[in-house]
Symmetry: C2
Subunit: 381 residues, 2 copies
């Protein structure tokens, strides 16, 4: 007998109420009944995105919305600045180049956040740049980039700030309108507490203006068409009915908890995870600008990260993530976003303590948990 | 946002596969389709009860099968020996007296197991006693009574050993046939990992002989009638279709894990819980003969047990049990039976550590968890 715990940075656990909502019989999507669900869900999404703009819902993974953010706003030959500090930063660049854009790459050491001064310099040197492409939370390195500072750089230029908030939106504060984020992307299987299958994207007025002259080829991800349909409480193509029904439920949960409380919970869980790592003598991957979505730690000398992750998943039932590319086998990433709370972090830290001991690293039992509990206790009055 | 954890000694958590089995459309109970399910389930129950006898399935809580064990086997005026070491031992006596039996009460201090020598003495002094009524696991005090020793006492007398195994069967070894247990009772919402609603009972050949002359009034709990129907793969009255469908699934899980492995898991979880209590300086309610189903601890001086349990349930989402009668407010009982594993015990101990600190008892964070993890790690090769 083995219970399974999903503690990887997506998909994340789905609340029972959302699972049950999705288990209801599927209704037809071109009906007043579904339009009602669609309309309410679209309104709730604005709350989480902290925007007055429409938030488009696409039947796609987050990457689909990233691609659409390029194809709907730019033309071949346009210049963009790509902040490449991990797998997902790299993806912005790859999508841009796939559509014939000219990318100015800012390569950032994995585990570090981009320095806004460097971005300013690149923008100054390349004044035709039409966008800065960044991650709010670079999932592959557990880094949070300084979005507010980047928004200040693009605000007064003919340049958009396009943010992959896939593991950022609903995790920490990203007030789209207040900060001046021009495009904000997210996905269902992260803080939205749903299975994979939905991508979300919202555009500022400034971004919608770019859309008017964009020449990149596109068909399925047609933001203008989606916005038009959204006004009629529907989507351009067949929506993922059950996922949207579940999304409505999950968004109601977020609204009931309150967005600032959601952020505070993620902050507490993340601090607990980082304190546990420190107590166990595990070096953080992103000590200076960590994301509250997930915590990455280097595995101790002599322990193979891949085997450790596999052991926890296949023997202990606890799924975390390893490292990618040059960090493969070197790190473990434990997520704490979405439908997670105190005892999920306790489970993660306990699992790591047991597994490290199995692999010969003498982690003192309870030491990481103790450091975590001290912080997790703040969650209870 | 609060996740809920059910760590009381029943109902216990239900595995997803059993929940999904029970969520299927209800089939009619007088059909070959349901008979197939019924037949397979009845066979699997024998495996868990460790008996060649039929195991009857009743739509009732465990108390129903306890009552039937009296009414089907005895007549008004019959003498029985009642081992009264807690709420459930007391219940044997109350049921017996409700039907006009004469009960010889053996009162045992709550938290202690009965001394077989005392039972022998009472049987010798009351040679007409037709039964010894005991709990394998007295849930109210977290005590395990010495069933094997009691069986040795009744074996060669005209006297039955009737065992309430409601939190015993499927938790620790109770080989009915091998030990000579004459009646063994259990219920769905414990180690059987189901919602409440089903009771189980198996009778030895010796017990079935008592049935022939029993004169107590009975109708719904008619064991002879149920046995006759069971041979035809059905039940006398309408069976709880969805619960039996879920039961089949849960029993398949138990069979797959293997009964001895199930016992070993419960033993490990129980030892971990007791070690955590000791590390936190919490006195065990049943230090000498603890049941592996649940661990009872006295709350520290100055802490109100009732408030502690309420706080954990209503603020932290962790449901444990308090004490009953004169132990009310004095103890906390945490269960570790059924669909529970490593991280459930870690959750329980963490919750207690946090809650005790909230109530002014300086439990050193991680100290209980550390002691538990040391033992829980045995569960992984």
């Amino acid at each position: 007998m083995r219970k399974n715990y999903l503690l990887a940075p997506g998909p994340t656990p789905v609340p029972e109420s959302a699972l049950l909502a999705m288990a209801q019989p599927i209704i037809h999507h071109r009906t007043p009944q579904f339009s009602e669900v669609f309309k309410e869900t679209a309104e709730l999404l604005k709350y989480v995105f902290q925007t007055r703009q429409d938030v488009l819902m696409l039947a796609a993974s987050g990457t689909g919305a990233m691609e659409g953010s390029i194809t709907n706003l730019f033309s071949p030959g346009d210049e963009v600045v790509v902040i490449n500090g991990g797998k997902f930063g790299e993806r912005w660049g790859k999508i841009s180049e796939a559509y014939g854009l000219k990318a100015h790459w800012i390569n950032v050491e994995w585990g570090k956040a981009v320095d806004p001064a460097v971005v300013r310099k690149v923008l100054d040197e390349n004044p035709n740049s039409k966008a800065v492409l960044a991650q709010a939370s670079e999932t592959s390195t557990t880094v949070a980039h300084p979005i507010k500072e980047l928004a200040a750089l693009t605000k007064d230029r003919e340049c958009l700030l396009i943010v992959d908030g896939i593991t950022g939106v609903g995790v920490f504060d990203l007030p789209m309108d207040d900060w001046g984020i021009d495009v904000l992307v997210s996905g269902s299987q992260k803080a939205f507490m749903l299975p994979p299958g939905l991508a979300f994207v919202a555009l500022s007025e400034k971004a919608w203006k770019f859309q008017e002259s964009a020449k990149c080829p596109r068909f399925y991800f047609d933001f203008k068409k989606e916005r038009k349909n959204l006004k009629d409480n529907t989507s351009a193509y067949t929506p993922a009915v059950s996922l949207i029904t579940g999304l409505r439920q999950a968004l109601l949960m977020i609204k009931e908890e309150g967005l600032q409380n959601v952020f505070a919970r993620h902050d507490r869980l993340a601090r607990a995870a980082r304190a546990a790592a420190a107590a166990l003598g595990l070096k953080l991957l992103a000590p200076e600008s960590p994301s509250n979505a997930a915590t990455g730690v280097f595995v101790p000398e002599g322990v193979e990260g891949g085997k450790l992750v596999k052991y926890m998943r296949d023997v202990m039932g606890v799924t975390m993530a390893g490292g990618q590319d040059h960090l493969k086998g070197k790190i473990v990433r434990v997520a704490h976003l979405g439908y997670v709370d105190t005892f999920d972090v306790v489970t993660a830290v306990s699992a790591i303590e047991i597994a490290l001991n199995k692999f010969g690293y003498k982690a003192q039992y309870g030491k990481g948990v103790a450091a975590a509990l001290q912080i997790l206790a703040e969650g209870y009055k």
